[in-house]
């Protein structure tokens, strides 16, 4: 009398487990009942039907016992209050791990916030313009003699031609830099370094609000100027500047003030204190075009919702026509011939919002998208490390709290409640860390601003969006960091816990080791990066630049003395403290006049070489301590030196005159009548760096000529202040409009590398922070391990282990992890630094010892951290650790 096998099998397979036993029994019994009453066939049929009625989806599932008696809602306020209370008690009781956690997380968060502020600022450049997304700048692509001489400005007529040709160019405006100029009003005179010239359309393209004056008419007339608020205050105090007339330069050109605008935002790629009009400034002589006097930054305003790439596709045709004809005129080459030499020309468009981050470094002000990425990555890593620490420590301390979990479970806590409790604890900790982190940020911000040269403020964080984001982010961090311990702890089985059998399992050890490896991976990579950056910087500064930059004083703006410039020079070199002095517009480092020309050899006039050229006096080379390789310096005793030239070694090579260049002739330029002006080579000067060390040394030609601008003075004095004071006095005796100002050549030299220096400092800062946080984590972990193995250590000591062997035992595991991290980090760091070094023409190699150093450093730090705890553990009297068994 057995029910059909298949139906029974189906029942056992598909019926919910919870009620299977009773249902099986019931159906068996019923089968017997039906069999007896109605016979086998009936019984089988009814059995089948009834089996189906208890299969899913018809059957109702019996709930599990725990769910059965309705627990009070998990989000009851009483419970939450209880969680908070317990959390606070726990945090108070475990002071060490709490403070490690809070400090670690706070530093991580503070770094993140700082970097976020920085990155946010970098990304906000030029976005203050209402039409920011519709403005593009036209740049110049130009390659001559294999050297890229393109840039971000064009000749004077490009803007006009573009506006005429393309209806989609709604507005054009040009900006021209104007170096420093002395501007005076009455007796007040200042050197204005941020003086720009602009078209009258400037204010229709860019959004710089007016305080006084009419933006539509401000720059429409010749010799008008607009001041910023700050400049207006500087010259006029509280007076109304409108209509007043400023005089510019030595020749006292009058400029009428037609407006006062707000200061240019700091996150703008152009900065000006005064904006003078370009009206009436355009040259009508020479070759007004696209390639001649490339001084005009040209901006186009495009229609709304217009992709600038459409325009970029159309411009080349016009550029080809205009620039092609100019090349024909200047170089006597058709565009085709020009290109056949491997050179190229053209234009490109650059959206306004890309200018700051994507332009080649023009000054230390300009940003670099790479640094934005690197910093963001560092921020993410820091936060990740802090989270990892948090998880690590929480998991490690889990054992200490396992009894609590056990008791709670026995008293009826369900898993969800325990998880909630742990999550609330970690979120609470994260919030505390956030508050500490914000404090750290407010303290560190002034230093960070100094480091980055920005003016960031916490105000940005008060914006509702940012504030919510910050808090939400912190809660998320708390949840993430707390999730692993929460799930791990709440899964303890009370029976084992209360028997005292829980030790951290093998599996969790692996996870924790993984986390340690990860931390040290990042730490080591950062150490390698920092060391390499530092070496590169030192290398650049120690580079033989080919001239002597010690003890060289540069007196600025000596052209303001006009004819007295030479008199002044002659006067100061008579002083016993001065070796020699030279008047020159060209100082080899820092911002200075850089002019290019094309020289050709007499033998092969078709072969032009693009070179820099300097006009110097005979004192120039000795003043700067440059070395003559062949021939001689210019001299007053050779009247023919007016048509002589001195080349640098690179120029000699470029002209193909390796063998005996002295006495050869080159064509310097062609005068208006088409006559080639010849220069005879009298000397070869050893190569020196006249640009940043980022670039290779290019060809250079020096001609004898008057070239005012600065006076370079080689001094030999210990009493610098007195010397400077006497110079100032002499300067003022000429009553120039300009104040006495000077700089030292070696200071200027360092200025050039400010951006590298900044990056190196930032890297050092962040890598030490990372190391610090990683150490905190390691310290916590070591504490835990030592605690775990108290008994083991006691037994070992009883059996005769020495302190040293115990310490070694405890440290060994960590060292292994650090070594793994080193192996992983080395290739990645090597690759990354190689990418960075590619920017430099003269660079250090990444030697193996850097990796060894980084490894040793990491191991040393890890050992130091771990040994503190392990020595403590090893010194404990075994009686103490073993008595409680």
């Amino acid at each position: 009398m057995k029910p059909p096998r298949f139906a029974h099998w189906l029942l056992t397979r598909l019926h919910p487990e919870e009620t299977l036993e009773e249902v099986e029994g019931d159906l068996d019994e019923l089968y017997t009942y039906w069999y007896e009453r109605a016979g086998r066939t009936q019984a089988t049929l009814r059995y089948l039907l009834n089996v189906v009625s208890v299969l899913p989806p018809f059957v109702r599932r019996r709930k599990r016992q725990e769910d059965y008696y309705q627990t009070p809602s998990i989000l009851q306020p009483t419970m939450i209050r209880n969680y908070l209370k317990i959390a606070l008690r726990n945090l108070k009781r475990q002071k060490v791990s709490t403070s490690i956690n809070v400090v670690g997380l706070a530093i991580g968060l503070a770094t993140c916030i700082l970097i976020m502020l920085y990155v946010q600022d970098e990304l906000s450049y030029d976005r203050y313009n209402d039409k920011a997304d519709r403005i593009v700048r036209v740049g110049l692509k130009l390659q001559m003699n294999g050297k890229d001489v393109g840039g971000y400005s064009l000749g004077q007529n490009a803007a006009r031609d573009l506006k005429q040709e393309f209806p989609e160019v709604l507005k054009v405006t040009r900006i021209k830099g104007q170096g420093g100029e002395f501007v005076s009003y009455g007796t007040t005179s200042f050197r204005q370094d941020n003086l720009l010239l602009a078209d009258s359309t400037f204010f229709e393209v860019f959004t710089i609000p007016f305080l006084k004056g009419n933006p539509k008419r401000a720059l429409t007339e010749p010799n008008t100027v607009v001041l910023t608020e700050e400049t207006a205050r500087k010259y006029f105090g509280n007076q109304d500047p409108i209509g007043k007339v400023l005089s510019f330069g030595n020749d006292k050109r009058p400029y009428r003030i037609t407006g006062v605008v707000r200061n240019v935002p700091t996150n703008s790629h152009f900065k000006f204190d005064m904006l003078a009009t370009l009206v009436g400034q355009d040259q009508t002589i020479d070759w007004p075009g696209w390639l001649y006097s490339i001084d005009y930054q040209t901006y186009l305003l495009l229609p709304e919702h217009y992709d600038y790439r459409q325009l970029a596709a159309k411009i080349p045709q016009l550029a080809e026509k205009q620039m092609g004809s100019e090349i024909q005129q200047f170089l006597k080459l058709t565009p085709k011939q020009f290109r056949e030499k491997g050179d190229d020309f053209g234009v490109f468009l650059q959206p306004l919002t890309d200018i700051h981050l994507y332009s080649r470094a023009e000054s230390s002000q300009s940003g670099n998208i790479m640094y934005v990425y690197v910093l963001t990555a560092i921020a993410a890593f820091m936060l990740l490390i802090a989270c990892v620490n948090f998880m690590n420590l929480a998991t490690a301390t889990a054992v200490r709290r396992s009894r609590e979990v056990g008791v709670r479970k026995v008293l009826g806590s369900v898993k969800g409640q325990l998880q909630q409790q742990f999550l609330i604890e970690s979120v609470l900790l994260a919030m505390v860390a956030l508050i500490v982190g914000l404090l750290v940020v407010s303290l560190a911000l002034p230093f960070f601003n100094q480091l980055t040269g920005k003016t960031l403020s916490m105000n940005l964080l008060i914006k509702p969006l940012m504030a919510t984001g910050l808090v939400a982010g912190t809660v998320l961090v708390g949840l993430l960091a707390g999730s692993y311990p929460a799930f791990y702890l709440s899964s303890f089985k009370p029976v084992f816990v209360l028997k005292g059998r829980v030790t951290a399992g093998r599996g969790s050890f692996n996870l924790r080791s993984g986390l340690v490896v990860f931390q040290f991976f990042i730490t080591i990579s950062l150490i390698i990066a920092t060391v390499t950056a530092d070496r590169q910087l030192r290398y650049m500064q120690a580079q033989k630049v080919g001239f002597d930059r010690e003890q060289v004083l540069v007196i600025h703006d000596t052209h303001m003395l006009r004819n007295n410039e030479t008199v002044f020079r002659d006067k100061i070199i008579r002083s016993p403290q001065v070796v020699t002095g030279s008047i020159s517009g060209q100082v080899p480092v820092g911002r200075t006049n850089m002019d290019n020309t094309t020289v050709r050899t007499k033998e092969d006039p078709d072969q032009g070489v693009m070179t820099r050229f300097y006009f110097v006096d005979p004192e120039y080379i000795p003043t700067l301590g440059m070395r003559m390789v062949q021939g001689r310096n210019f001299s007053k005793s050779f009247p023919t030196d007016a048509s002589a030239v001195i080349l640098n070694e690179t120029a000699v090579r470029a002209l193909g005159w390796q063998k005996n260049p002295i006495g050869r002739e080159l064509i310097g330029h062609t005068d208006d009548n088409g006559v080639n002006i010849m220069y005879r080579v009298v000397g070869v000067v050893s190569d020196f760096h006249f640009e940043s060390l980022r670039q290779k040394i290019g060809p250079l030609a020096m001609f004898l000529g008057r070239n005012s601008g600065n006076i370079l003075v080689k001094t030999r004095t210990d009493k610098l202040p007195e010397f400077l004071a006497s110079l100032k006095q002499q300067w003022e005796s000429f009553a120039p409009t300009a104040p006495f100002s000077y700089s030292f050549l070696d200071d200027r030299f360092e200025q050039v590398y400010v951006s590298e220096q900044k990056i190196e400092q930032i890297l050092t800062l962040f890598s030490s922070l990372t190391i610090f946080i990683a150490c905190l984590g390691l310290f916590g972990l070591a504490t835990y391990t030592a605690e775990q193995r108290t008994k083991e250590i006691g037994v070992r000591k009883v059996l005769g282990a020495s302190v040293g062997s115990v310490v070694a035992l405890l440290s060994k595991d960590f060292l292994k992890l650090v070594l793994i991290a080193l192996v992983l980090a080395s290739p990645i760091a090597w690759w990354g630094m190689n990418q960075w070094l590619k920017e430099f023409a003269y660079k250090v190699t990444i030697d193996w010892w850097i990796f060894a150093l980084a490894g040793l450093l990491a191991i040393g730090i890890a050992l130091l951290t771990v040994s503190f705890q392990s020595i403590k553990a090893a010194l404990v009297n075994p009686v103490k650790s073993l008595r409680s068994e």
């Binding site: 099986e24 009834n50 009625s53 208890v54 059957v59 109702r60």
Partner: protein
């Protein structure tokens, strides 16, 4: 007081559990249903109803009493809880009150 809703079939099954007085389980409840009301329902219906009654708190259950004919498997025996018996009594009382309200003639007329 809000009364938990008790369906017609649920009420009948609950009554059966009450009648069986501690001996009610899947088989006996189905048989009693058939015997007293003539309704033949699938076993699944009874099973589900009993689970639902337990969820509503009208019955409790425990496992016990395996016999040879069920292959030694235990039964789930149901018993009416205080809440269940109150619910039944309330229904009974409500019915009674309603019966009182019917005018005597109405049922006679329609009945004859």
């Amino acid at each position: 007081m809000r009364r938990t809703y008790l369906g017609e079939f649920e009420e009948v099954v609950l009554l059966m559990v009450a009648i069986l007085d501690g001996e009610g389980y899947g088989v006996t409840v189905s048989q009693a249903l058939e015997e007293h009301t003539g309704r033949i329902v699938t076993f699944g219906t009874v099973h589900n109803t009993l689970i639902r009654l337990e969820e509503k708190g009208f019955v409790t259950s425990e496992l016990g009493g395996g016999t040879a004919e069920r292959g030694g498997r235990r039964k789930r025996l149901f018993r009416v809880t205080a809440l269940g018996s109150r619910a039944l009594q309330e229904i009974q009382q409500l019915r009674q009150e309603l019966w009182q309200l019917i005018p005597p003639k109405t049922l006679q007329l329609s009945g004859s």
